[in-house]
């Protein structure tokens, strides 16, 4: 299994191209684990239902749109809306590859629960390798090691709300503080992702970590932050420091184990000479620096909420 992965990584990093829109692997609901109900069944019944009711509502609807001006206005409005939607999609897909983004949000309940448990208690997890399926990485709902963007974004929003609540409990709340907290956390995340990208580029590490992967891994710390703030609110200052220590250790372990697979084992095929001896050291430094940065930033962003 490892040899085939090295064979893949010897060439340029694999792009996470999204499957075509009709691919059932991404967005079927697999959380129940029951037999797959084909989507066509739902669509057929929907069309059948709308058919007779459309005929029945026809004479009634005619009265509403007897006024040709309203009719024409509605057609015009809907065509403008469609054009606007097309333009927005085109412009957006120039900056952000929507298919790649869809991969990161293809999660289900089982994955979220397993991942949250993994973030808080990663010490018993054995296999940290990301699984592949015909040369593309498996989406998160089929592989618990795959990074996703659902948990980081939800955790970020929850952290902001929790910060507002914590400040409100201490009678220090005002609406500007919420925006300030959000933008501070966002700026630190941007700084961290840029630093990671810069160090990976400078040390010519040919890993298949894309920008979204780094955003995902840097966003997992918000789960630890939420846990820390909650314990600080419930159990006071002692609970805060205990929870801080616990979530820092868990997060550091998680980051080191996850990034070790991606950074440290992606040696390019032609650096087998003397240069190879310097490389693993620097890659280790990058991984350790990322891991050490997490508790520092967790403390920095949450200590002012617990007084």
């Amino acid at each position: 299994m490892d040899l085939s992965h090295h064979g893949h990584r010897a060439t340029k990093p694999r792009a996470r191209t999204g499957p075509p829109a009709g691919d059932p692997m991404l967005f079927d609901d697999t959380s129940s684990g029951g037999p797959q109900v084909p989507n066509q069944g739902y669509y057929n019944s929907a069309y059948n239902i709308s058919g007779p009711s459309g005929g029945g509502g026809g004479p009634a609807m005619n009265n509403l749109f007897a006024d040709p001006m309203a009719n024409a206005a509605m057609m015009y409005g809907s065509s403008i809306a469609d054009k606007g939607k097309d333009i927005v999609n085109k412009e957006l897909s120039r900056f952000v590859s929507v298919n790649k983004l869809k991969y990161f949000f293809a999660v289900d309940t089982k994955y979220v629960i397993k991942k949250l448990v993994l973030l808080m208690f990663p010490y018993t997890h054995q296999d940290w390798e990301v699984r592949y399926h015909r040369d593309t990485p498996l989406p998160p709902r089929h592989d618990v090691n795959a990074p996703d963007l659902y948990i980081p974004s939800m955790a970020f929003i929850t952290y902001i709300l929790l910060a507002g609540m914590a400040l409100g409990i201490q009678k220090r709340f005002s609406p500007e503080v919420l925006g300030l907290c959000a933008s501070t956390a966002l700026v630190w995340m941007v700084i961290e992702v840029l630093a990671m990208l810069l160090s990976l580029y400078l040390l010519t590490v040919h890993s298949d970590l894309s920008t979204f992967d780094l955003i995902a891994y840097s966003g997992y710390k918000y789960v630890g932050m939420i846990f820390t703030v909650l314990c600080g609110l419930l159990f006071g200052s002692d609970g805060y420091f205990v929870a801080l220590a616990w979530s820092s250790c868990a997060l550091m372990f998680f980051i080191v184990r996850s990034l070790k697979m991606k950074i440290l084992s992606s040696l390019s095929s032609d650096s087998m000479g003397a240069g190879a001896s310097a490389k693993p050291r620097f890659r280790l430094y990058i991984t350790m620096a990322t891991a050490i940065f997490q508790p520092v930033i967790i403390y920095w962003l949450t200590s002012h909420l617990i007084r």
Partner: protein
């Protein structure tokens, strides 16, 4: 340290301006930081210094023209609104 997004934008503009101002011929070659003094061997992985130099060079090439526009807008806005 409370960061606003405006502070981030300011920091980014200042940083990119700083990189764009470093002239390779007149300034960097005095310190041995120009590309022609650091030609790497063939098939060898480039070191950190060469990567930094190429990064600075590409940032300069790409951002020269947009920086003119961004700086002009910044100057006008700062004059108008402090």
């Amino acid at each position: 340290m409370a960061f606003t997004l405006y502070a981030l934008i300011q920091a980014v503009i200042l940083g990119v301006n700083a990189v764009a101002v470093l002239h390779e011929e007149r300034f960097l070659s005095k310190f041995g930081w120009s590309v022609d003094q650091n030609v790497g061997g063939f098939g060898e992985e480039p070191g950190i210094k060469v990567q930094l130099i190429s990064l600075a060079r590409s940032v300069r090439t790409v951002m020269r023209v947009p920086l003119i526009a961004v700086n002009a807008v910044c100057i006008v806005l700062l004059l108008l609104f402090g």
